[in-house]
């Protein structure tokens, strides 16, 4: 059971949260202008790092807000939390 620190509610049990996958995948503003390769890349390809991962979480059973976290995918240690739309706290986490 991970302890996840919701920026609004504080540290809560992992079971209160839903996972939202890799963060910072911007939806293309003009999808019709993309090639199939670019569209497929946006839809499906992922960094899937072994190590620090910038990802999205939602406090589904609490305030129901979304936020980002930087978590190590090997140890599950979370070293940073930041708001949706904010710049990630470190330039290079990979």
């Amino acid at each position: 059971m991970l302890q996840i620190e919701c920026p609004w509610c504080g540290a809560c049990d992992q079971s209160e949260f839903s996972y939202g996958g890799e963060a910072h995948i911007a939806r293309p503003k003009t999808p019709a202008d993309l090639s199939d390769q670019e569209w497929g890349d946006y839809l499906f390809n992922r960094e899937n790092p072994k190590g620090w991962h910038r990802e999205q979480w939602c406090h589904t059973a609490g305030c129901r807000r979304w936020f980002n976290a930087v978590r190590d995918t090997v140890t599950s240690r979370i070293k940073a939390y930041y708001q949706m739309g904010a710049i990630p706290p470190e330039e290079d986490v990979r």
Binding site: G21, Q37, R46, N48, K50
Partner: protein
């Protein structure tokens, strides 16, 4: 090297108190160059190397494995083997694999303990039953054995199961594949390793690939923890670490690596002689020859390379098992673990070429790779040797994520993604 296991070799070795059995495979030093290198010494990688050596004339072959062979997902799955997938392309590939399983112990001269005790997929809602009848019919149209069972059929075959009306999601029926079953997961890795070794394949353990060298868009060598290895053909079969390998070639994959957990109970007297899977209440269970109940769960939602997951998954999974088998509520669980499954958006594998010449990937098997071990090796060997996919894996290329030709097998996969 003990060339062939037989009643005679058993008797001969009994005379010397079983102290003279030879190593089942060599531990050679990596050579500076090979014609083909398979990266990943799990069941799929070893099967690929074996069929490369057996079916094709590609020259010198090596398997490099960062840990010990079969130590990844091959050693961590719930051992289920079946071919009851919905779409033609998937059904044919898994059925090829099942047919290879049926002759595998003889082929490899190694007992992989393939027990065709049948696999049941339960239906708990009207839509479950529609999906079951649809999939069962599709199987039979593809020449794959399948029956649809009533609750009474199920109860007759599985006395310990609760088919009564008081369950939260009562069982309404099931699909059944009689030729499906379970196999000894470690044995299939060791069997392929020994057979590949006897055909001259170098199996190199404790050898981690740290880089892929390219010149003009073609593979030239691998950098490893035991030195560089020159080669023009690399087949990557690294399961949960596929994205890590792809990044070494400057590629991204449509894959996410998730924990997948499983657990076994204390040994019990025989109580379950088939495999039960339920999508709806979510769990799958069989009983090993040692008497342990082998139980599997859905993936943890977050990505993870730690070979462990969160306990909430286990709690939900055991609740499902106890719903199906109330008498198991007092059984003690002995051991629990996790693997790293490379999950694909359509729950189907990626087997084929990449934009880098000489670099081939066999991955994305997600939660359902074990059953495909021989079939995966069979088609990947062809793909690497001929630089073209086999007809059975042509549909499973990376390209489908750009053309939109996905093959959705989430239902047949039977494990929550």
């Amino acid at each position: 090297m003990t060339k062939r296991y037989s009643i005679f070799s058993l008797a001969r070795n009994a005379l010397s108190h079983h102290e003279n059995w030879r190593e089942a495979w060599r531990s050679p030093e990596p050579q500076p160059e090979y014609d083909v290198v398979i990266v990943g010494g799990g069941g799929h990688g070893l099967a690929s190397a074996y069929y490369l050596a057996r079916n094709f004339d590609v020259g010198r072959i090596a398997v490099v494995e960062k840990g010990w062979i079969g130590g990844g997902n091959t050693g961590r799955n719930t051992t289920i083997v079946r071919s009851n997938y919905l779409w033609d392309e998937a059904a044919h590939l898994y059925e090829k694999s099942l047919q290879l399983w049926e002759g595998l112990s003889q082929e490899l001269n190694y007992n992989v303990m393939f027990s065709q005790r049948g696999v049941m997929n339960l239906g708990h809602t009207l839509q479950d039953m529609r999906d079951i009848v649809r999939r069962s019919s599709a199987n039979r149209l593809n020449g794959i054995d399948s029956e649809v069972l009533t609750p009474m059929d199920i109860k007759r075959r599985v006395p310990a199961i609760d088919v009564g009306p008081s369950a939260r999601y009562p069982i309404l029926g099931a699909s059944f594949q009689p030729r499906g079953g379970v196999a000894r997961h470690d044995a299939v890795a060791w069997g392929f390793a020994r057979a590949a070794d006897q055909l001259g394949v170098d199996i190199i353990q404790n050898c981690e690939v740290t880089g892929i060298r390219q010149v003009d868009g073609a593979v030239t060598a691998l950098e490893t923890s035991r030195g560089p290895i020159r080669t023009a053909k690399v087949g990557v079969v690294a399961a949960g670490h596929s994205s890590v390998m792809a990044a070494m070639a400057g590629l991204r994959l449509p894959i996410e690596s998730h924990p997948l957990q499983a657990l076994v109970s204390e040994p019990l007297k025989p109580v379950l002689d088939t495999v039960i899977m339920s999508n709806a209440v979510h769990g799958y269970i069989s009983q090993s020859d040692k008497g342990e109940l082998v139980i599997g769960a859905g993936i943890d939602a977050y990505t993870g390379y730690g070979q462990r997951g969160s306990y909430g998954i286990i709690e939900g999974n055991i609740a499902a098992i106890v719903t199906l088998f109330p008498s198991f509520s007092r059984v003690r669980m002995l051991r629990q673990w996790g693997g790293i499954v490379d999950v694909c958006p359509d729950a189907c594998p990626i087997i084929g070429k990449t934009p880098v010449r000489g670099l081939y990937f066999n991955c994305g098997w997600g939660t359902g790779g074990f059953k495909a071990t021989p079939g995966s090796g069979w088609v990947f060997a062809h793909t690497v040797a001929k630089d073209e996919p086999h007809s059975l894996n042509a549909a499973f290329s990376l390209e489908r994520f750009y053309t939109g030709a996905l093959i959705d097998e989430h239902g047949a996969a039977g494990v929550a993604h």
